[in-house]
């Protein structure tokens, strides 16, 4: 302090410290005249003008000259002394390395010592420049202010700054004065503050700053929602946010001062994270949105890591801020959304129901007039038959004049947002639809989605089921179902009427215990067995039991009931009361028997009558012929009776007719032809004709000797209508002589048979044997209801 002040005081009086000690006197004088020589110069200049005006004498001149010389000598001596002092001062200043700078009143640099250049970054040739312009140091502006303050207040001002050399200095700005006059300038002296003092003060300031910063940072970290860590250069945790502890279910004790990689069972020890923190971060200062899948105690979380290297004071360790953003829910939600979108897309693509999004179109009167298809699924076409509709309007483009009520319904959904579901028939589509209509998108867009199914088939089958159900209900047949154990599961009105049990009484009971008579229980077991094997029972006539014990004649048809998979789960049984039919059958049988009885008795009476009539008349042969014909007719009736007059099998008719004669001749007749069921009248006509042929053969033809044979063959051919042909051919008999006159037998064959049959009969008395050909349309002789 004292040194600096001395210098500054010395500077007041002396030349610039930078002046060369070897400067010439003239230079020094000039320099003195410029700065300090005002008074002597003034006195010098005034004296010659006074002398000139007063005209001094020689003595005075000499005396004045001597005085002048003495003054010059004294001045020289002083100058020498001053130069010496100046030189000494300069070498002293250079030796002490004092940093000092002198500014004039205008704050121009008058002079400065070399160390100042290192502190303020001054150029060597700065003298005369304005301080503010010449000094690049950041504190220059403040120093200017300080200098002005010092000049104004005429007191020293102090400031601390850090020099460009990195050291701390106290700068004292001292206004320079010349004996009670105004300050002539400002001297700046730079004194490096001592090491302990600097450290102490620096540390205090820094500490305060750090504390404030840390508190600020901590409060930020504490309040953010995201888990956050602050790591030091070794990646040890310096600070962790509360959210971090919460999110990872951990505590400060197990977190702070731990290596990041050691946290939570080394879950963060991920090669990629290591690379980012240790290699990338030092270069880039930030890492953003690094995705980590973290299998924590609370399940897998998806985290985005943001890391940032924090700027620190030089010399201090770098810090790293690590922020975690848990995006699990977001990622899951997005994935779920994508999945559900995909799922719904797939659903709409694959469902059987038609789906479309439509836009309602309105006419000028705001009445819904048409609709436009915006989107449809593949099943759309299947359900309504329309294809290639997207972007088109239903009425306008596609020309489908859907009934107005549909537009009204859709429009109401579009306007109210109330979804509707309905089933309706559309004449335009000629289909039944089941529809779900709901609004989509913004109400103003008037868009609705329609999920619809063509239920025409279902309606049809529903109707069929309803019809079937009503048939079942109204049927006189008992229609019941039972499971595979024989337990009744349904019981219709017919069953109630037939068996006397109400549905309530019957359902749940064993069918065997209800309606199967004890002697028919085996039958039920057999039926159930067959049903279980998938078989059925068709029109099986049996006996069932009424509730009152009466036995009922029934015809049952039983079919297996199957589930959707085709498994037999029970049986449906239709029982028809055939008691009435049975009685009818018995009655008819009785009538036929009675008829037969009467016919036969009548024939017997006629036989007796003839016998009585011709008794003793000598017409025995005639009576015998008559009797034979009568018996032939009777035999034909027998065949019919056996078949209950439902027609007669041709083989039986032919067989019976010839058996009476040929049977005894031991295989001498061959009978061959397809079975045909003959009408009763035809059967009798044919039998009578065959009787005549056989009688003739026995009397005169092939059967009259012991070798002859008869061959009876018939066939059916299509030419073009089915035609029946029968041939009677005798051979091996004695030579045939054609009878001179056609007897009754011939006429019966040729005339009566031909008429009865509606065909042709050709009787030939060939010498080799009698031949008879019968030909008639099959339909003439065949019983109508047979094949």
């Amino acid at each position: 302090m004292s040194v600096a002040s001395d210098i500054s005081e010395g500077s007041d009086r002396g030349p610039s410290p930078r002046a060369e000690p070897a400067a010439s006197a003239a230079t020094l004088e000039a320099s003195q005249n410029a700065s300090w020589g005002e008074s002597p110069v003034r006195s010098t200049s005034s004296e010659p003008s006074a002398a000139g005006n007063n005209e001094p004498d020689a003595h005075d001149l000499r005396a004045a000259n001597e005085r002048l010389l003495a003054m010059i000598q004294e001045l020289h001596a002083r100058n020498d002394e001053l130069a010496r002092a100046n030189s000494e001062l300069n070498s002293l200043i250079a030796a002490t390395g004092i940093a000092a700078l002198y500014l004039d009143r205008e704050l121009r640099i008058r002079c400065c010592t070399p160390p100042v250049a290192g502190i303020l970054g001054l150029e060597p040739a700065c003298t005369g420049q304005r301080f503010a312009d010449a000094v690049p140091h950041p504190e220059a502006a403040n120093l200017v202010l300080d200098a002005r303050q010092a000049l104004r207040a005429r007191t020293a001002v102090e400031r601390e700054l850090t020099g460009d050399d990195g050291r701390s200095y106290r700068v004292r700005l001292q206004p320079g004065r010349t004996g009670g006059h105004d300050a002539e300038g400002v001297a700046l002296t730079f004194v490096e503050t001592s090491e302990p003092e600097r450290n102490d003060r620096g540390a205090r300031a820094l500490n305060a700053q750090l504390q404030a910063g840390k508190a600020f940072a901590d409060s930020i970290i504490a309040t953010v929602r995201e888990p956050m860590l602050v790591l030091d250069g070794d990646l040890r945790v310096v600070t962790a946010s509360r959210a971090f502890y919460r999110a990872f279910k951990t505590t400060p004790e197990s977190t702070l001062q731990e290596m990041l990689y050691d946290l939570d069972g080394r879950r963060w020890d991920l090669p990629e994270l290591r690379r980012l923190l240790e290699e990338v971060l030092p270069e880039r200062t930030t890492i953003e949105a690094f995705e980590v899948r973290y299998a924590s105690a609370v399940g897998e979380r998806i985290l985005l890591l943001n890391a940032r290297r924090l700027r620190q004071q030089p010399g201090l360790e770098p810090l790293i801020l690590l922020a975690f953003e848990d995006v699990t829910e977001r990622v899951q939600a997005r994935a779920a959304l994508a999945t559900s979108e995909t799922k719904y897309r797939a659903l709409f693509e694959s469902i059987d129901a038609g789906f479309c999004i439509i836009e309602m179109l309105y006419d000028a009167a705001a009445k819904p007039a048409d609709l436009r298809f915006l989107e449809v699924n593949p099943a759309f076409t299947r359900n309504n038959g329309l294809s290639d509709v997207v972007g088109k309007t239903l009425r306008g483009d596609l020309g489908v004049d859907l009934e107005q009520s549909w537009f009204d319904a859709y429009s109401s959904v579009a306007q109210t947002g109330e979804p509707i579901r309905f089933q309706q028939y559309s004449r335009a589509f000629r289909r039944w639809f089941d529809l779900n209509v709901f609004r989509v998108d913004l109400p103003a867009l008037r868009r609705v989605a329609v999920l619809f199914t063509d239920i025409t088939e279902r309606k049809r089958s529903d109707r069929a089921v309803t019809r079937l159900a009503s048939i079942v209900d109204s049927s006189d047949d008992a229609i019941v179902s039972k499971d595979l154990e024989g337990i009744v599961t349904s019981w219709n009105n017919g069953a109630e009427a037939m068996f006397g049990y109400t549905a309530a009484e019957a359902i749940g009971q064993s069918i065997a215990s209800l309606i199967i008579p004890p002697d028919r229980q085996d039958e039920e077991d057999e039926i159930l067995g067959r049903i279980r094997r998938g078989g059925s029972v068709d029109h099986f006539e049996t006996v069932r039991r009424h509730k009152d014990g009466t036995r009922l004649d029934v015809s049952v048809t039983i079919s297996p009931l199957r589930d959707r998979h085709g498994r037999v789960i029970g049986a449906s049984k239709i029982a028809r009361d055939i008691g009435e039919r049975k009685r009818h059958e018995r009655h008819r049988e009785l009538l036929i028997q009675e008829l037969n009885h009467r016919v036969k008795n009548t024939l017997a009476s006629v036989q007796a009558l003839a016998a009585q009539t011709f008794r003793g008349s000598g017409m025995r042969d005639a009576v015998a012929n008559f009797e034979a014909r009568l018996l032939a007719m009777s035999r034909a009736h027998d065949v019919l009776t056996r078949e209950s007059w439902q027609g007669a099998a041709i083989r039986e008719v032919v067989g019976d007719a010839v058996a009476a004669w040929v049977g005894k001749s031991g295989g001498r007749a061959t009978v061959d032809g397809p079975e045909i069921r003959l009408r009763p009248a035809m059967a009798i006509a044919l039998a009578m004709a065959l009787h005549e042929l056989a009688t003739n053969a026995v009397k005169y033809g092939a059967l009259s000797n012991k070798q002859g044979k008869v061959n009876i063959q018939w066939s059916v051919s299509d030419d073009p209508k089915p035609c029946f042909r029968l041939r009677w051919l005798e051979h091996g008999g004695p030579p045939v002589h054609a009878p001179g006159r056609r007897g009754f037998g011939s006429r019966l064959i040729e005339y009566a048979l031909a008429r009865d049959l509606g065909g042709t009969v050709e009787l030939s008395f060939n010498q080799a044997g009698v031949e008879c050909r019968i030909e008639t349309p099959l339909e003439e002789i065949r019983e109508a209801d047979t094949v």
Partner: protein
């Protein structure tokens, strides 16, 4: 009488409601050498006659004016009395108890009658 094949002198009971037929039968049977002991045309009469033992074989019409004579036949079967059933009905009408009985379907030939009578006497 013991010779079954010989119908000479065979005593026959005729149960028949048709007069014409019973007349013819009498003629035919007598031609065969049989002797007709009685002709019954009513059920009670037939019943009564059938219980007598003055005949060797009975010709029994199954239907007498709409009434079956099966009970008579069954009774005779019980007593091992020979009989021939005559009927205009089909054979199927016979009750089980009379299966195996000799049956003549009307109308029949004389030789059929003879065979039936012999048959019945054998069986009886």
């Amino acid at each position: 009488m013991d010779d079954a094949d010989n119908l000479e002198g065979c005593r026959v009971l005729i149960v028949e409601d048709d007069a014409m037929i019973s007349m013819m039968l009498q003629d035919v049977l007598e031609d065969m050498g049989c002797r007709v002991v009685a002709v019954a045309s009513r059920l009670e009469e037939a019943q009564r006659r059938s219980e007598a033992d003055d005949f060797d074989v009975a010709l029994l019409d199954v239907n007498l004016r709409g009434e079956h004579t099966f009970p008579i036949a069954e009774a005779m079967l019980q007593r091992r009395r020979p009989f021939v059933l005559t009927t205009g009905y089909a054979t199927t009408i016979l009750p089980d108890s009379l299966h195996g009985a000799t049956l003549l379907q009307k109308p029949y030939r004389r030789q059929d009658l003879e065979a039936a009578l012999r048959d019945a006497r054998h069986g009886g």
